[in-house]
């Protein structure tokens, strides 16, 4: 798509940008010098957008090997006096906790901003943790924008605040900010000042305990100062809603108040407009530390205050503590009283429900029966599935088949990536999914538990680089009896095909060589390692069966490019896409293929008799050909060569 890059518009222009694009633009306006991330939905596109323009504007952008590394890279740059960014989904904050809780003690010189994307609805996350607790843990301020414009402007401001306090700063967003598009007025892009220099200061940066202890006091002073600065933060604002309209009059004639932050603020606005409940609303941009004077004055005039926030009741907790300390007689309500749901994202309707419980007003009509019933009866779920032609399907089939033939039971510890979709029937290929890199170590634990059953693990190439390597070293060092499979498609596919060390090209588009997976595994001390084409099911089944019998850890690298990359390359090279065909004379409608591998390209036909139908998005991988006991499925011709490993994710610039 030969479109002008949307984040490069001129100052004063008004353009439609997603929240993630707005944050990327905010970084350009702040003159960011180093930007890092590990891909993770919903934050991934921030660094993709920055990567698109990094060479042109002269700053450094990278997809790092994992979040901890990304944060340390950015922190190093910030210690050298330049502005740097690290973007992550909230689960990545767990990884950065280790350096973060010390770098808040050392502080930084150049601005260091961490974008953290929380996922209250768990659209693509294993949990719904609230990263504001990490702000409290590390004593790092947390800012929250309510829309795209604020996301851009606050990103720029976060760098200034970070420099003023010499502390990292969190900007917390949610998927509704990341992926919504807003009309945004652009500011001036500032060229990056790439003039970093690390100045030696051991008592500040060498955090042995004797040097660290005195700095705790400095950190406490900094976070107290952050609270004072928050009192005058221009994005903390109060509004009076009278009769469905926000009025400028700042007199506190309402005794019912609402405190809202992030995306919940527009929901509150909308509900007050419709229900015409009169309220004073505090739009809170600095959720940690609280702007104490501002919140105290707000509470002082109120009889009751509703706190509307997503994830956990953090503002509720802090506000209650403040009210108690200031001895204010105000009823504070929110999640604790069951008015705001404890989990899941909010929306205008849920905020409306809270006001209905309090005041009996109605935000909308009840949903009528035909709507709800219609959905349940006719509409099947569309759960995310492994794509048609996905090599992971072939790998899972082979692993399960090997275990079936062995007849010894067995467990398969999974990891984080596209291959999670193999959990669904009929493959049911993994027995756990915990966090990035957990598979190999957890399999090790099971192998030491005294079980007689085979213990396997499954991890993708990107996740193996991210955090699988230490677990594999550990498995060798401590002699775990496991079979570890690495599903290698040489790209980080789950989040939309981002580069990783195995891809050969980095985010800046520079060839930096492919990390050699097999050599890394060997260097960890694994003696038995083999590389097998994922679609060579016979070899893969034999290999798994054989390795189960071997003592100690062994590794099988099951390799084949991502089906979507293959399809893209077939299209770009104008090759023919061969599809599977069903011989109606031979197909008896036994459904064995469906029960074994359940490819999304399978459909069902009734004319002239019940039979398997191949849907148009089949890409001819040929796995189903082997499944049919009657030889009814065939693929006219196999594709030539490997059409994916050499993918170039971005125009190559040297």
């Amino acid at each position: 798509m030969a479109k002008k890059n949307r984040i490069l518009g001129g100052a004063g222009e008004k353009v439609l940008l997603t929240g993630n694009e707005a944050i990327a633009r905010g970084c350009l306006e702040a003159g960011v010098v180093v930007a890092t991330a590990y891909p993770g939905t919903p934050a991934t596109t921030i660094l993709e957008k920055l990567g698109d323009v990094a060479t042109e504007l002269g700053f450094h952008a990278e997809f790092s090997v994992n979040e901890a590394v990304a944060f340390e890279v950015s922190a190093g740059a910030a210690m050298s006096g330049v502005r740097s960014l690290m973007a992550t989904k909230m689960l990545g904050v767990n990884l950065i906790a280790d350096p973060l809780t010390v770098i808040s003690v050392t502080g930084v010189r150049g601005g260091l901003v961490i974008i953290t994307a929380d996922d209250p609805q768990q659209f693509s996350s294993q949990n719904a943790e609230d990263t504001r607790f990490f702000g409290m843990l590390a004593k790092v301020p947390v800012l929250e924008p309510v829309d795209g414009q604020e996301a851009k402007d606050m990103t720029r401001y976060a760098f200034e605040l970070s420099e003023e306090l010499e502390l990292p700063v969190f900007l917390r967003i949610t998927p509704r900010i990341c992926h919504s598009s807003f009309p945004i007025e652009l500011g001036e892009i500032h060229p990056p000042k790439r003039n970093g220099k690390f100045l030696r200061d051991p008592k500040r940066f060498v955090m042995i305990s004797t040097f660290s202890r005195p700095r705790q006091k400095i950190l406490n002073e900094k976070i107290a100062k952050a609270g004072i600065i928050a009192d005058t933060n221009p994005w903390n604002r109060t509004f009076n809603f009278q009769n469905g309209r926000a009025v400028d009059d700042n007199k506190a004639y309402n005794t019912f108040g609402i405190i809202a932050s992030g995306m919940t603020f527009p929901y509150v606005e909308e509900v007050l407009e419709v229900t015409k409940v009169n309220a004073r609303v505090l739009k809170l941009a600095t959720t940690y530390p609280l702007p104490q004077n501002l919140v105290t004055e707000f509470l002082r005039e109120m009889d009751q205050v509703l706190i509307v926030e997503e994830n956990d009741g953090v503002t509720e907790l802090l506000t209650r503590a403040l009210a108690q300390r200031k001895r204010l007689n105000v009823r504070i309500m929110g999640k604790d009283e069951g008015l705001i749901p404890m989990s899941g994202e909010l929306n205008p309707d849920l905020v409306g429900d809270a006001l209905e419980k309090l005041f009996g007003v109605q935000f909308r009509e009840e949903l009528t029966e035909p709507y709800i019933k219609a959905e349940k009866e006719l509409v099947s779920q569309r759960v995310p599935a492994l794509c048609s032609g996905c090599p992971h399907r072939a790998s899972y089939y082979s692993i399960k088949e090997a275990l079936r033939r062995k007849g010894m039971g067995g467990s398969i510890m999974g990891d984080r990536g596209c291959y999670n979709q193999g959990a669904y029937a009929p493959l049911e290929g993994i027995d756990s999914c915990i966090c990035m890199g957990a598979s190999i170590a957890m399999a090790s634990g099971i192998s030491h538990s005294g079980t007689n059953e085979p213990v396997l693990s499954v991890i993708g190439d990107g996740t193996f680089f991210h955090s699988g390597i230490p677990s594999l070293l550990n498995a060798v060092h401590n002699r775990s009896n496991i079979v570890s499979l690495i599903f290698d498609n040489s790209i980080t596919a789950m989040t939309g095909h981002q580069v990783n060390p195995g891809t050969g090209v980095n985010l800046m588009g520079v060839h930096t060589g492919n990390a050699n997976l097999k050599k890394i595994v060997e260097a960890c001390g694994v003696e038995r390692v083999q590389v097998i084409n994922a679609f060579d099911t016979k070899r893969l089944i034999d290999a798994v069966m054989e390795e189960i019998d071997q003592p100690g850890p062994s590794v099988i690298i099951s390799r084949s490019p991502c089906a979507l990359v293959v399809e893209r390359n077939v299209r770009q090279r104008k090759l023919k896409m061969y599809r599977a065909e069903v011989d109606l004379d031979k197909c008896i409608g036994c459904k064995v293929c469906m029960k074994k591998i359940g490819c999304p390209a399978f459909g069902w036909g009734d004319d002239p008799k019940p039979h398997l139908e191949i849907l148009p998005h089949c890409n001819g991988c040929g796995l189903c050909v082997e499944m049919c006991p009657f030889g009814a499925i065939s693929v006219p011709e196999k594709r030539e060569g490997a059409l994916g490993i050499s993918v170039k994710p971005r125009e190559v610039r040297e």
């Binding site: 798509m1 997603t18 929306n347 409306g352 959905e375 099947s380 599935a385 998005h617």
Partner: protein, 205 residues
């Protein structure tokens, strides 16, 4: 909410729902209208259900359309229109592609014998109509093929949308946004797809 025009764009991952929403969004910007769009990425890979919310007008505040407040549901797949029907206002308009894409879970239910047959298009449409919605049916796949590329179903649907009288964006702005969003080497085919969609529009029944 009053005074804002609310839309739901939906379909199946791979059909180009997000691009459809982008086109409508950019057409609004061209027409000088305030617009906020809420999309969901991440698991919108192939086969997943994809939805985008769009709110057009000066009073558009949050990107989410409240339940029962959408003026139009623009759907690339009939079952998806039914899935999100609870967003539609009473008597609102559903513009749907007639081409069904059965979810793999439905096929799995057939395989396991939990279901006798696929849900039929006429059953889905009948349910949509029973809710009191007006419905415009567009054979987008056929029209996309006629335009020269079956992958232009989403642009056909944008064309049909552009012909709806109550849409606050004119045809010209919509067409310009289409041209701006499609690959340059596929411009003609997409303009044809748009025009065929536009021409196919018949006021809803």
């Amino acid at each position: 909410m009053k005074g804002s025009f609310n839309m739901i764009d939906c379909g199946v991952g791979g059909q180009g729902v997000v691009m459809m929403a982008n086109i409508v969004g950019e057409a609004c910007v061209r027409a000088g209208l305030r617009v906020i769009s809420g999309e969901l990425h991440g698991l919108s890979q192939r086969n997943g259900s994809v939805i985008a919310h769009q709110r057009i007008g000066e009073t558009a505040i949050s990107p989410l359309v409240p339940y029962g407040e959408a003026d139009v549901i623009l759907s690339l797949e009939p079952m998806e229109a039914l899935r999100y029907l609870y967003f539609l206002k009473p008597g609102g308009l559903v513009i749907t592609n007639t081409n069904m894409i059965h979810p793999p879970t439905e096929t799995q239910m057939l395989a396991k014998g939990e279901k006798e047959r696929y849900v039929r298009y006429d059953e889905v449409v009948e349910r949509i109509r029973a809710s009191g919605a007006r419905i415009v049916e567009v054979d987008a796949l056929e029209l996309a093929r006629e335009a020269g590329n079956p992958q232009t179903e989403n642009v056909v649907m944008v064309g049909a949308l552009a012909a709806v009288p109550e849409i606050p964006v004119g045809k010209e702005h919509m067409l310009e946004a289409v041209k701006d969003n499609v690959p340059k080497n596929a411009l003609d085919v997409n303009v044809r797809a748009f025009e065929l969609g536009y021409g196919s529009f018949k006021p809803g029944t």
